[in-house]
Symmetry: C2
Subunit: 346 residues, 2 copies
């Protein structure tokens, strides 16, 4: 099992990518191929002790920046680190792709290179969301901004399989992100999706709101990519604002500074809990091969954890079990197949 | 100027309503009519010193619970505290309504009793969102789950007028809540709304994401009621989770407890900053009279602040200035009136 890391993606490439890959290789013994400009990667590698680590470099002469238009960049830059890394995975030299690069380009490139699993209409980003109890999986986190009922059905099925196989969650609680808990709440899309999810062979717990999500009452949170992305980014914004306020407030006064020093350990633990990078990027589900998408601003820790997630996935995805289950379920279940009464799930 | 407070709305009625009304009357000298079951209100009033305060009771024999279906409850309970309070405002005995009751019922009742301002297609809830710099106004916060381009145009116009007149914001920065900052981002609705907002006579700053919102870079945040409500509730969930974690983490260890005691002042200040109740409920904009909607779980402080917001509004809304401006602008500007090129704002 070998993971391909796009060493030139991300705001701080290739520094954090190389550091993260080295750490993952050292801590977990993973084999890694760093893809990008050889000299730049080698120069970074010299800052680390890589003795005994299974790290290769695969040279790629170009890279895609965060600002470029994904489709145009993919077309023009045939030797970009992203395309070369995806090719390694496609051809079986590596088993998964990790990139903190231009999200649109990573999505388009992996879709193109890996192809969708049979039966999957729209691959979706499954973002890990830290809660008071652990982690919930929110999907779609932004790959599909305009969603149909069938897309949402498939998000529920894919999230359910992933949560079971990769997180080892026995009976994932699948919820619909909505603006009220009662049945019948929400916009037209939610009203149509609800009865469909209720009829699926998953543990559907109904509509869920922010409070329930953060209390840890749901494992798989189904949403369209637009509101899912808004939910994630507003949560991140609110969290970091509070942490900033605490830091700022404490620095203001002498006594508070003492308090801050005393509670540094606790604050660090909390920051770690709510730090999205701890959860190592978001898998792009529904493709024949695995791609893990990290924040552009990822730290080396985020890259390390993304490699870890990719490895756990590969380990548990024996004989393509995850892909097989996703394909089977997405082929079987659709709005039409559920055959609900006229008034429901139209 | 007299404010009608629905004393029987809310999870903790009439206790917090009465306490909040007394506090508002004492601190700011406001005149208040408490509407609800006379004996229950009188019994609560006996717990407070009301000497010299201008507080009336208006008896209403029924009240609507949080669980009731709004429309059915309004129809059946003709003498509910909410309906009686709204009637006082409609007939000019009071100038604004404050209720922490069943949100759906408060919306339906005030729409019915006050009527929409001429030109306004959909009244919207304008929720105050605490940021690092102050407060942003998010609308719609949930009154309209399925929105058209015209609705969103009107949210921008109404928010702009309110922010100017009531918050005294000279040139409110109006932003579109979206999943990326670049023009062209988002779902079909956002793509159509963007050029329209850009063509309006408001200070449109483009798309905004969670980070910008919390940094305080926007004054009026335009969104459909579905994603707006999700944004609010996820933010609230994330905030309270972090505060809980800090409290829980600090209580774990001796040294941390000391730290916690030392930093209590700072924490209290922060809690106050991010506490939605500090901002006193959300005005329901677009109606001929003002209704302020509070959380069902409002504290007496939230009720007090809602009364304060209602009073500030009434004071600045001289000769119905806010309503006049909203009417004029919403009548003038629509997708059609903007007459954008074919490719934009369709």
């Amino acid at each position: 099992m070998r993971i391909a890391v796009d060493a030139m993606g991300g705001d701080n490439a290739p520094g954090v990518e190389v550091e993260g890959a080295v750490a993952a290789s050292r801590e977990f013994g993973f084999s890694i191929t760093l893809v990008g400009i050889r000299e730049a990667i080698e120069s970074e590698l010299r800052n680390h002790n890589t003795a005994g680590l299974d790290i290769f470099i695969k040279h790629a002469s170009q890279f895609i920046t965060m600002e470029e238009s994904p489709i145009a960049a993919l077309k023009q830059k045939k030797d970009s680190s992203l395309r070369v890394a995806a090719k390694l995975v496609k051809e079986g030299e590596c088993s998964a792709l990790v990139s903190a690069g231009n999200t649109g380009a990573v999505m388009a490139c992996s879709k193109l290179a890996f192809g969708s699993i049979k039966g999957v209409e729209r691959p979706a980003i499954a973002a890990p969301l830290p809660t008071e109890q652990g982690v919930a999986l929110l999907l779609d986190a932004g790959a599909n901004v305009d969603c149909s009922v069938n897309h949402m059905i498939q998000f529920a099925l894919m999230g359910n399989v992933y949560s079971k196989v990769v997180f080892g969650c026995h009976k994932p609680r699948v919820g619909l992100l909505n603006i009220g808990e009662e049945k019948g709440k929400g916009d037209e899309l939610r009203k149509k999706v609800y009865p469909c999810l209720a009829a699926l062979p998953v543990n559907f717990i109904g509509n869920v709101e922010g409070k329930m999500v953060y209390a840890g009452d749901v494992d798989v949170l189904v949403c369209d990519g637009f509101s899912g992305n808004i939910a994630l980014k507003m949560s991140e914004g609110a969290s970091s604002t509070i942490l900033n306020m605490i830091k700022g407030g404490l620095e203001e006064r002498r006594l508070s500074r003492l308090a801050y020093l005393l509670m540094r350990g606790t604050m660090r633990k909390i920051k770690k809990r709510v730090d999205y990078s701890e959860y190592g990027g978001a898998p792009f589900l529904g493709l024949k091969k695995l791609a893990i998408i990290c924040h552009g601003s990822s730290s080396s820790k985020a890259v390390k954890n993304a490699v870890k997630v990719a490895s756990i996935f590969e380990e548990r995805n024996r004989n393509g079990e995850v892909m097989r289950q996703i394909s089977e379920q997405c082929t079987t279940w659709s709005r039409k197949a559920l055959d609900l009464p006229e008034t429901e799930g139209k």
